[in-house]
């Protein structure tokens, strides 16, 4: 299952979602938003991998991570430039609509990690899996992008890099942990799954929380809003004298 030289290949799940991806990428505005978000994700991922380069004690890993980080920063720039080109051509004004973010959760997966506190083995296992997942999705994106050759070319170029990233992370994991590298991969898989559940749970909770607060807003707030507006009318603009007693105690939170 974990061949020493895996190549980019979309997973069955990603293949199944091809029509959805095709629909998402068909619209210029959505494409711009996705590219901008990818630009941010790649740059953020680059920073985390750069951090990994700074904290590892393994000289070879330091050089590889550094190369990897430079690639990610470059990808970020490619995505941003392409989004800017599309914006220029379409003159669209990036209104955020449906983005299908849940289809590509976690970016490079590094938001699951505290880079500073992780071992090289854990870092490599996470990186390998997230690069693999990214390569799978980027493969689909490239395939659904026939109508936009420049964007397709970007995915093509990035896919090439992702293959290198997948390969080096796996070979290096096997180097630093020859006996137990598969165990690390499985642990990383389970951890990713758990983190994915937590993301889903917190997203769901966030939605429920928003609904709850919105209901409160419309049910509870109107009379208070009326009073607040009335009080605001009574307030005069300009200076407000500071009462010497207002700041006499540091125990107060109000």
């Amino acid at each position: 299952m974990d061949s020493p030289r895996p190549h980019e290949r979309p997973t069955a799940f990603d293949r199944m979602l091809t029509p959805v991806h095709r629909w998402i990428w068909s619209d210029t505005n959505r494409r711009v938003q996705k590219l901008l978000r990818f630009g941010e994700t790649e740059t953020d991922g680059g920073r985390d991998i750069l951090r990994a380069a700074e904290v590892t004690s393994d000289p070879l890993l330091r050089r590889l991570y550094l190369e990897h980080a430079i690639d990610e920063f470059r990808h970020g720039i490619l995505f941003r430039h392409r989004a800017a080109e599309l914006l220029r051509v379409s003159r669209s004004h990036s209104n955020i609509g449906f983005q299908g973010d849940w289809l590509a959760p976690g970016g490079h997966g590094l938001d699951d990690l505290q880079v500073d506190g992780e071992s090289d083995q854990t870092m490599l296992a996470f990186l390998h899996l997230s690069e693999k997942a990214a390569a799978s999705r980027f493969c689909i994106y490239r395939d659904v992008m026939q109508h936009d050759p420049p964007t397709r070319a970007i995915f093509e170029e990035i896919l090439h890099d992702e293959t290198f990233h997948m390969n080096y992370t796996l070979t290096q994991l096997a180097r630093v942990e020859p006996q137990q590298h598969k165990r690390h991969l499985w642990r990383a898989r389970l951890s990713r799954l758990w983190k994915a559940y937590l993301r889903l749970a917190t997203s769901l909770a966030a939605i429920l929380g928003s609904i709850l607060l919105t209901i409160q807003y419309f049910v509870l707030l109107p009379p208070f809003a009326w009073m607040a507006k009335r009080a605001a009318h009574r307030e005069s603009a300009g200076w407000t004298a500071v009462s010497p007693t207002s700041s006499d105690s540091l125990n107060r939170q109000y």
């Binding site: 917190t202 769901l204 909770a205 429920l208 709850l212 208070f224 009073m227 009080a231 939170q253 109000y254």
Partner: protein, 70 residues
């Protein structure tokens, strides 16, 4: 050295501190120079809602179920 505490433990400590903070808010609004007594019930009610949010943050895995309490 700062002792590391789990998220749930930290959440419970925060939860325990909320009542004192709410009392300070209520007292502050009640005694406010700009006459904001009318805001006190709403502010306190929202803070009680906040307890739910704290619980949701402390126990991420159960967060959606905690909201269903409401």
């Amino acid at each position: 050295m700062i002792k590391t505490r789990g998220k749930t433990r930290r959440g419970l400590i925060v939860f325990g501190s909320t009542f004192g903070s709410m009392a300070q808010l209520a007292r502050g609004l009640w005694q406010s120079d700009s006459d904001k007594r009318w805001l006190t019930p709403l502010a306190v009610f929202l803070c009680v809602t906040g307890l739910l949010l704290i619980l949701g943050t402390a126990v991420e895995a159960l967060a959606p179920f905690i909201y269903s309490i409401w």
